[in-house]
């Protein structure tokens, strides 16, 4: 990186990191985990022009996703819901344990709402349908990178039902 003379240089020499936080651009590292090559390519194409987002790895299987997440500690994993199908939604819990800072966004082809909600209840914080990748993925990445969640409004009533079921069950047990 080129050093420019300026007001910030002395602070840098004193070891202050204040200038780092002021940099406008913070890069989000992204891992794409999908068994389908064309789908990975489509996702990568969508991310390429985005400022502050870069693809740091791709995984074709669940196990690859686990080891790549442990190694790369990406900010975001874009995870094909099908990839975790064989193991229920536990793959998402495993990814989160391998790298606590990593946030998981689901890429969903044709999946029932209940499977999506299962995955969200294991800690995914975003959900984008594959046909909407070009349109909504940039928005979803932006939201998730800044600590928010991103999903269709239509999922919310189902989530409330699930929360209500937890509460009802807890009352039964008391």
């Amino acid at each position: 990186m080129k050093r420019r003379k300026g007001a910030r240089a002395p602070r840098r020499r004193r070891g202050s990191l204040a200038w780092v936080e002021k940099r406008p651009l913070r890069v989000v590292n992204i891992l794409i985990a999908d068994s389908d090559k064309a789908a990975r390519a489509a996702v990568a194409r969508t991310i390429l022009p985005l400022r502050g987002m870069r693809v740091v790895g791709e995984a074709q299987t669940g196990l690859e996703a686990v080891s790549a997440t442990a190694r790369l500690k990406p900010g975001v994993v874009l995870l094909d819901l099908e990839l975790s199908s064989e193991f229920g939604a536990t793959l998402i819990s495993i990814l989160r344990r391998k790298s606590a800072r990593t946030r998981v966004i689901l890429l969903v082809g044709r999946a029932s709402e209940s499977r999506i909600i299962e995955a969200l209840s294991h800690g995914a914080v975003g959900c984008v349908t594959k046909k909407d990748v070009a349109r909504f993925l940039p928005e979803a990445l932006e939201a998730v990178a800044s600590g928010e969640a991103w999903m269709s409004r239509k999922l919310i009533p189902k989530i409330m039902d699930r929360l209500a079921a937890f509460t009802a069950r807890a009352e039964d047990l008391e």
Binding site: L63, I94, G147, A149, W150, I156, P157, F166
Partner: protein, 225 residues
């Protein structure tokens, strides 16, 4: 929507501030028959008598008691979609609002076109909240799920107990990402023997490949740790 249903979609506006009710009614008056109330007694009476399709309720209404007061109002007309509006929206209160049974939570300054859209989607059965409520909502879902799994471990898998000690050793090595060759070297057996063990392991656990076994072992270790 038929004329009859449209006619039934009465919307009740409840706020102590006349200006606010006026603002809300701008976007809604064309589409819905509107009624307005300014205080709690009138609200209770109107809820019980009108049974509106939707209630736009200012959380600052005196005597309501904020979000906690919603269930009492809801009981007067269980089918009414209660939509909460506040001058100071925040994500925690938004989550509490949804849990109290409200079908919407948004700023009382929401512009009239957006408010009309909110009422329309809520009447279709959807829920309307600001995007910043989504994250705490999912956190709640995840933490309740995890707590539940701790209390009632999801049928704690005891399949690993079916394995012989040697097979269990090999399964753990696969879980750690070792190749057949590495396992053979480590246990001082031939690769063919490793493969034979693996076949037995897959059969006993009902798995079909190494990926499945590796994830199974990882998950098993976590649950039993």
């Amino acid at each position: 929507m038929s004329e009859k249903q449209r006619a039934a979609s009465v919307v009740l506006l409840a706020s102590p501030i006349a200006g606010l009710r006026g603002q809300w009614s701008q976007g809604l008056a064309e589409k819905f028959p509107l009624y307005e109330v300014a205080e709690r007694t009138a609200l209770e009476r109107s809820m019980a008598n009108l049974k509106p399709a939707a209630l736009l309720l200012d959380l600052a209404l005196p005597g309501l008691g904020g979000v906690d007061g919603v269930p009492t109002i809801q009981k007067l007309s269980p089918l009414t979609s209660v939509m909460l509006l506040t001058s100071t929206p925040n994500d925690r209160e938004g989550l509490a609002a949804l849990k109290s049974g409200a079908r919407a939570y948004c700023s009382s300054e929401t512009d009239s076109a957006l408010l009309r859209k909110a009422v329309t989607v809520v009447l279709k059965g959807e829920i309307w909240v600001a995007r910043n409520v989504y994250a705490p909502l999912l956190e709640e879902l995840t933490s309740l799920t995890e707590r539940r799994h701790k209390e009632f471990p999801p049928n704690l898998d005891t399949r690993l107990d079916r394995l012989t000690p040697r097979e269990r050793e090999i399964a753990q090595l696969i879980g750690g990402g070792a190749s057949n060759k590495e396992i053979a070297g480590r246990l001082n057996i031939t690769e063919a023997t490793v493969k034979a063990h693996l076949t037995a392991i897959f059969r006993k656990l009902g798995l079909s490949d190494r990926l499945g076994l590796a994830l199974f072992v990882t998950e098993y270790n976590r649950v039993t740790r």
